[in-house]
Symmetry: C2
Amino acid sequence: MDPKRLSPRDFRALCRAGRYAGATAGIAPGHVQANLMIVSRAAAFDFLLFCQRNPKPCPLVEVLEAGRWEPVAAPGADIRSDLPGYRVYRDGTLVDEVADITALWRDDLVTFLIGCSFSFEAALIEAGIPLRHVAQGRNVAMYRSTIDCVPAGVFHGPMVVSMRPIAARDVARTVEICARFPQVHGAPIHVGDPAALGIRDLARPDYGDAVDVEPGEVPVFWACGVTPQAVAVAARLPCITHAPGKMFVADPLNAR
Amino acid sequence: MDPKRLSPRDFRALCRAGRYAGATAGIAPGHVQANLMIVSRAAAFDFLLFCQRNPKPCPLVEVLEAGRWEPVAAPGADIRSDLPGYRVYRDGTLVDEVADITALWRDDLVTFLIGCSFSFEAALIEAGIPLRHVAQGRNVAMYRSTIDCVPAGVFHGPMVVSMRPIAARDVARTVEICARFPQVHGAPIHVGDPAALGIRDLARPDYGDAVDVEPGEVPVFWACGVTPQAVAVAARLPCITHAPGKMFVADPLNAR
């Protein structure tokens, strides 16, 4: 059975059974996917405040109270087992990549589900605006920018941005379409001129894969959901995240 | 000097000097005013989560970290002295109404500034849509509705709604205008039919003053910033709030 054709619920059951460990791009098309960030209750206020102050890189889909693992956005789900993969950090260092975090669970862990660009990418493709990294089956190119996030408690650091080359004629429509999705990074934060974001070489992204910008295209930049992870890791906080590209697949549809 | 003509900064200085203790309706027209809620750090995560889950009644203008009293939205201000009046609650009971809370300040207090309807009311009046309670110099009528807020930790309870009678021909435009102000309660949550909100008698509001609904007018309901106060008091939490109608006057303009 092609996992792409499963419902969100059936796909999560597949992950829970340990039978899928791949990326979630293209899974359950049209449904919300979310970045995962789990921190201890001691750090949860600061992290929630960081998200509140930086809604573009950290658009909250849902926050679960300490000890809870079943999101409202996915009744019956268990965020400890229903993603294809997890990363475990201690003191800012990746210490493990696992398929299930049930054994690591504690009652003081607070889960944050943060919007993911897959939602607006689907809308762009539907509108006939091609996305090179999707066509080429690569991860999107991401860069640490010189834009500082608004700090909150122990959390501070640069905004990570994703870049998609867009044909000049499609840039305005791209902005219009993405602005309809404030829950998932919304409108781009920057159009053209990578140097103004402190990006010297588009061919050398800090995360993900490089893609070429062709003649007639403009590099368009979005606030990226990797930002909160990068900031939590920089704060040397113990935390658990999804493994790159292996998002939580929730029930709601992107269209809102 | 008419306090209505002062800049936000000068008005705050007047309050700080103990020379103004009235309401803030009409003060520093065009500038953001905010509801004040101060809770201890122990309750701050739950309260921030409550606001995140209930953005219509609790639109956050700013959250100050524990111990901080100078908002980004008002450099130089001191939220401990720059409002015309404060209310102090213990165990869900109002124990004091004071002009200054500097003596009560502690390093673990977290301040929430929550959007206030004054912002969209100014926009409605500018658009030629009259507001009866403003014309009559009364407080807006507010009701406990049967809509439950989304609970968060110790915080739960009904949404408080404000009601303004609007001429039938102006209802759609009222919605359009208010939708442009998501930071201050945004679009109405309910148009007409008070009974569907569990409101039996518009003439008997739970807070504020009753106003008549004239023939040809529709009662229009907004999520109200009194909600978080009511919920915190119901949770029997120690907290400090602004005194009714005596808001924090910030620097930014409403137009955004």
